[in-house]
């Protein structure tokens, strides 16, 4: 099989074209939402929502079969988003408490799935997705769910960034902390819903976290982060699907599609990281003493500084 077949020809097949369409919409939106997840440091909440959604997926599957997965997940995600927003805000629960609740939710989901006829198959689909077997009737609901997430983020983007940068200042300017947190958490939850029924609930976190982290490495300019994350996500999704197809059809190595996509996301992140490290090293050699303009190459949330008065 030629490179062109893998990169372009493969998507003429209906199931591959459908997978590409859904993955492009989902991953670009997940990337854009993920920039805010990165700036707010909400990776833990996002992880929590993937767990909260799982029992919804399982109950939906048990009650309504394959068609029940998306509504079940959506209901669980909305309940989870409201509950997590409220818990984090009121301070009644700490990280450990939330982790216990979410693990419990996950195990309830597994128990529900275990009652189904095809235990192993159903569990695998919920955990690791069904990128290549998305039913045609699911495409529109998946796109709609993702679009609502994008709308929530687009409407609140300025204020979300303000809150991420300076929470106290954002509140002093009259923004509702609860409202902003709820909007962002619901957007994350909707991405998790769409992602859980495609790449699977264990892998969707990569779509949310990796493009935003990669964008932080590429640019230090605020509003460029969003397009950079979207482009990164689109390219990685496309290459991931093509790689899986080439390996399965061309080389006879049966790679699970969802996991292959996620592996390509992580690999692409590693390449961006290496380029960034090399660029920083070159800059240090070129002009020792000048500080780089962008964030530190680790991309990790760094120490928080207190604005001091001394000049």
């Amino acid at each position: 099989m030629s490179l062109g077949d893998a990169l372009f020809g493969a998507f003429a097949l209906p199931f591959m074209g459908r997978a590409l369409l859904v993955m492009l919409v989902l991953s670009v939106i997940a990337g854009v939402v993920g920039v805010l997840v990165n700036l707010r440091g909400l990776e833990f909440i996002s992880d929590g929502l993937t767990h909260a959604v799982f029992p919804g997926l399982a109950v939906g599957l048990a009650v309504g079969g394959s068609a029940g997965v998306l509504p079940g997940a959506a209901i669980a995600a909305l309940i989870g988003a409201v509950l997590l927003t409220w818990l984090m805000r009121s301070g009644v629960a700490n990280d450990a408490g939330i982790a216990v609740v979410l693990t419990a939710a996950f195990s309830i989901g597994v128990i529900v799935v275990s009652k189904s006829d095809d235990y192993a198959g159903a569990l695998e689909e919920l955990l690791f997705g069904r990128v290549l077997t998305i039913p045609p009737s699911d495409v529109v609901p998946l796109v709609v769910v993702s679009a609502i997430a994008l709308l929530l983020v687009a409407l609140t983007a300025k204020q979300q960034v303000f809150r991420a940068f300076d929470p106290a200042g954002s509140r002093a300017a009259g923004d509702s902390a609860f409202g902003l947190d709820l909007a962002l958490n619901v957007a994350v939850a909707l991405v998790v819903v769409a992602g859980a029924s495609t790449v699977g609930s264990l892998l969707v976190l990569a779509l949310l976290v990796v493009p935003g982290a990669a964008a932080r490495l590429v640019t230090g300019r605020l509003w460029l982060l969003f397009p950079v994350a979207g482009i990164f996500a689109a390219l990685a999704s496309w290459l991931g699907l093509a790689t899986g197809f080439a390996a399965s059809v061309g080389a006879g190595v049966d790679l699970p599609a969802g996991s292959t996509i996620v592996a390509v996301f992580v690999l692409a992140y590693a390449i961006v990281l290496l380029v960034r490290l090399a660029r920083d090293a070159a800059r240090r050699r070129a002009g020792a003493g000048t500080t780089p303009a962008g964030p530190s190459a680790s991309g990790a949330p760094s120490t928080r500084a207190v604005g001091e008065r001394a000049a």
């Binding site: 002093a172 760094s302 120490t303």
Partner: protein, 258 residues
């Protein structure tokens, strides 16, 4: 005085759910007036400022913003600019100085509108007012402490406030930055902006402010600097704390700074 006042309190009290707060507030600030807010630590100075911003509930009396003659609403607070004592932020946060200053315009813009030409013009003007015009594109975290503080003042000014609240703005400022802030405040007063500034610095109160508000859990005294800033009033306000008052500086042992 209250007919055209920017901020009016009548028997007002702000109380946190825990019970702490500041009460018996009964004063008004007119356009172009500056009020020095003075009191020991924990006296409710920040509570008062946060109350004006709507962050601490008004539990008694009434507060009016502007000349509307009605109680302060969410929308009225759009006319208030606020300079916090400090901000805590991620030093690597990818945001430029002008983007931080633009945050001062968000309240006007609301959720749906994005900054336009008038907003960019207001940001440029605010940055020039604080002398940071040439640093507009710099990453906020790469600025010095004094520059960040001036940047935050520019953010407060970008809102075109009619009332400016400043929480201990002179703490830790060196002389050039202090002089620049005094000059900026005088210019704002001349433009008709009302200023409420909490400070430990009596020299500053005399330099910039027309009025003094002494608080210690409640309003102790309010009036022109020469009338209200008497040794007796200050001693009453700082009860239990040794107070020396010389020509210029109030020395409150162990109560300087934060």
């Amino acid at each position: 005085m209250s007919s055209n006042a920017v901020l009016t309190f009548e028997e007002a009290a702000f109380t946190y759910p825990g019970g702490d707060g500041v009460s018996e507030l009964d004063f008004a600030i007119a356009p172009g007036e500056a009020v020095a807010l003075i009191g020991p630590n924990g006296a409710g100075k920040s509570t008062l400022l946060r109350g004006v911003l709507g962050l601490v509930p008004l539990t008694h009396g009434r507060m009016a913003l502007g000349d509307a003659g009605r109680d302060a609403s969410h929308a009225d607070r759009g006319m208030v600019g606020f300079l916090p004592q400090t901000i805590e932020f991620d030093i690597d946060f990818p945001i430029s100085l002008e983007q931080v200053v633009m945050q001062g315009r968000y309240r006007r813009l609301g959720l749906l509108r994005w900054p336009g030409r008038a907003d960019r013009e207001a940001v440029r003007h605010a940055l020039e007012t604080v002398g940071l015009g040439e640093f507009a594109a710099k990453r906020f975290g790469s600025l010095s402490g004094g520059q960040r503080q001036r940047g935050l003042l520019a953010r407060a000014l970008a809102a075109d406030p009619r009332l400016l609240l400043l929480d201990e703005p002179f703490n830790g400022l060196d002389q050039p930055n202090r002089d620049a802030l005094v000059a900026t405040l005088r210019r704002l007063k001349a433009d008709g902006v009302a200023v409420l500034v909490s400070t430990h610095d009596l020299e500053l109160a005399r330099e910039v402010c027309d009025l003094v508000l002494l608080v210690n859990g409640r309003q102790n005294a309010f009036g022109p600097v020469s009338d209200a800033l008497t040794l007796a009033n200050v001693q009453r306000c700082f009860e239990g704390v040794e107070v020396e008052i010389d020509e210029h500086t109030l020395v409150v042992p162990g109560h300087e700074g934060h």
